[in-house]
């Protein structure tokens, strides 16, 4: 096992694409670090640079105290599982798993021993003589894991390993990977675009966007304290509702926030959560609220009732995702000086229990606890929480 250090790592492709920008990060020994981000954010490039499949344009990658920039993939003692598994189609499962050992020039006896140990670990023993094309997606995925683990690598790299599986199998294999990683305690970098995978698997999660590291934190921290509006919008399903607003002091000396045509009074606790929120009085800021923080006003306790127009409902069985606007006008939100239209026209989402009947096109009253609000400065960075 080994730790991995990224020191100001940059990757610029031949066509000028700056895929990874100044990435500095330490992955501890035995940690499962998930890298998550939208397509094209540079997450797979990071993994490929660790594997040695892509050159590093700038900075250094250090694995177990050794700078690996100029080492060939086979010299780094890392193993990788690919999105499409990349099993060798012309080899049996046994030969696939044994291939790295053959390259290490281990004796036949040693190869067989280690293949059988690995097959046993992953429940592949009965499949050893099968060809990859006769395996199911889940079995292929396990064989790919076996081929990666058999050589006892210092670092395990997983590049969207569950993307090709159906939802049910994905859940099962996700649990298997989590259990395996806990058991083996191997330093693992796991790339995914699926934030549910990221949140459920990672000891810590790195969020990347446009090649920049946005935040690296444990999943709970990421959800509760997003560093900026990108992370806030990306983490959570659906993501946080984000809208521009202004704060002002009302007659009673309390801060109020513009939400459509309404003024929402912020409770003391809501204000106290952030250091110096009062300094933003009359300034344009960005507010955020998670879909699960809205409630229908029949459950209202706070008195911040807002009338909304429901534009769509997605029924998930145990809950409904409700889309709504604050008025009938069309959306447009960020980047411009605040005006009321920006919040009223935007499409918001909320989660409601399935027992609450809502229909698209209807009007309803909703409410939210202002303690659930997040605030970001105009440049998108989170306003620091009070210690």
């Amino acid at each position: 096992m080994a730790d991995i250090q990224f020191n100001n790592v940059n990757k610029i492709f031949e066509d000028g694409t700056h895929a990874v920008r100044d990435l500095s990060l330490v992955v501890s020994e035995g940690e499962l670090l998930v890298i998550v981000g939208p397509s094209g954010c540079g997450k797979s490039t990071v993994l490929r640079m660790v594997a040695g499949l892509e050159d590093i344009t700038g900075g250094t990658i250090v694995i177990g105290g050794k700078t690996v920039n100029n080492l060939q993939p086979q010299q780094r003692n890392v193993a990788m599982v690919f999105q499409n598994y990349a099993l060798y189609p012309h080899m049996t499962v046994r030969k696939n798993i044994a291939f790295p050992l053959k390259m290490m020039r281990l004796s036949k006896k040693e190869q067989n021993l280690r293949v059988e140990e690995t097959a046993d670990l992953l429940g592949l023993t009965s499949l050893l003589s099968r060809m990859p094309k006769s395996l199911s997606g889940g079995q292929k995925q396990r064989v790919a894991m076996g081929r990666a683990l058999v050589r006892d690598p210092k670092v395990l790299l997983l590049d969207e390993p569950l993307s090709n599986l159906d939802a049910k199998l994905r859940l099962q294999i996700r649990n298997e990977i989590a259990a395996l990683q806990r058991r083996l305690g191997r330093t693992t970098l796991y790339v995914t675009h699926d934030q549910v995978e990221a949140m459920t698997l990672g000891d810590r999660v790195v969020v990347l966007a446009d090649g920049f590291l946005q935040q690296v934190d444990p999943p709970k921290e990421l959800y509760e304290s997003p560093a900026n509006i990108f992370v806030a919008g990306f983490i959570g399903n659906p993501g946080m509702n984000i809208f521009p607003t202004v704060l002002h002091m009302n007659d009673r000396g309390r801060l109020e926030m513009k939400f459509g045509a309404d003024d929402i009074e912020l409770y003391d606790k809501a204000v106290d959560r952030f250091s110096g929120l009062a300094n933003y009085e009359d300034a344009q800021i960005i507010a955020g609220i998670r879909p699960e923080s809205f409630v229908s006003s029949s459950q209202n306790t706070s008195g911040n009732k807002v009338s909304v127009l429901v534009t769509g409902v997605e029924t998930l069985g145990h809950e409904n995702i409700v889309y709504f606007r604050l008025s009938d006008s069309e959306e447009q939100i960020t980047g411009k000086p605040f005006n009321e239209e920006m919040t009223t026209g935007k499409l918001y989402t909320m989660r409601l229990e399935s027992t609450q009947h809502v229909e698209a096109g209807s009007k309803m009253d909703i409410d939210f606890d202002t303690e659930a609000l997040y605030f970001f400065s105009r440049d998108g960075k989170a306003i620091a929480k009070a210690k």
Partner: protein, 258 residues
């Protein structure tokens, strides 16, 4: 029908006594092998050194096929997967060469090989045809469509470029190897113009030249000519039958309609 009827006629004609071949032509009896005899085949061997011509053709075609598969696949792999200076220009040049028929460069090539003293050798019939633009193109389109992750995985597993090519790429590219083998075999088996230009003696001449001179060898015996023809196409049919399953798949997946 137009393609298959003459072949059936030829096979059955080769088994009939010489005088019946022409006499029954145009009737249904031409397709009925009523009196089977292998005499025509024996005749061919008695009248010309058929064995020699067959060996020449097999050696020349076989060598071109074997070396062509190696050279063209390696070249195509380097175009498809390795990065080196001038790769794109070279690839363009190779693709451009696909449109040049051998006849268009035959004369300058003839002067060149004459100067080198290669005439009347196997060498002159083999060397110019090993590297082949169309074969490179077929290999290239196949390799470029193979998932890159296979090579990435084997690099991480510790394999070098040659091992990757031999142990990962080649075993998974059997269809294109079969296609190129068949197409090369077909082309070279029927080569006529070039061998006619550069060879004069029986020692190194291939079958197409032999059958051409056999037509004019008195006495004119149609049964013998049919037998010669059957023996000449037999290896092609054999090669095609062996590889046909891969061939069809290879041509289809290379995106080239046969």
């Amino acid at each position: 029908m137009i393609f298959i009827v003459p072949i059936i006629f030829m096979i059955i004609g080769s088994l009939k006594p010489d005088d019946l071949v022409l006499a029954e032509m145009g009737t249904v009896r031409a397709f009925i092998p009523d009196s089977i005899s292998l005499e025509n085949y024996g005749d061919v061997y008695r009248r010309v050194a058929f064995g020699r011509f067959m060996l020449n053709s097999l050696f020349i075609t076989g060598t071109i096929c074997a070396l062509g598969l190696c050279v063209n696949s390696i070249a195509a792999y380097s175009f498809a997967r390795l990065s080196w200076a001038g790769r794109n220009i070279m690839l363009l040049a190779v693709l451009a060469m696909m449109v040049l028929p051998i006849e268009s460069i035959a004369v300058p090539l003839f002067f060149l090989v004459t100067k080198w003293g290669w005439r009347d050798t196997y060498l002159v019939q083999i060397i110019p045809f090993i590297a082949n633009a169309f074969s490179i193109y077929l290999f290239y389109t196949y390799f470029i469509s193979m998932p890159r992750e296979l090579e990435d995985a084997s690099r991480i597993d510790g394999a070098g470029p040659f091992r990757i090519f031999l142990q990962i790429i080649v075993p998974n590219a059997k269809p294109v190897f079969a296609s190129v083998a068949i197409l090369t075999f077909l082309t070279q088996w029927g080569a006529y113009i070039w061998p006619l230009m550069v060879t004069s003696g029986e020692d190194v001449r291939p079958l197409p030249l032999a059958i051409a001179s056999f037509y004019t060898l008195p006495p004119l015996k149609w049964g013998d000519i049919m037998a010669f023809g059957v023996m000449m196409i037999a290896p092609i049919l054999l090669v095609f039958l062996i590889f046909q399953q891969w061939f069809v798949r290879g041509v289809a997946s290379a995106g080239v309609k046969g």
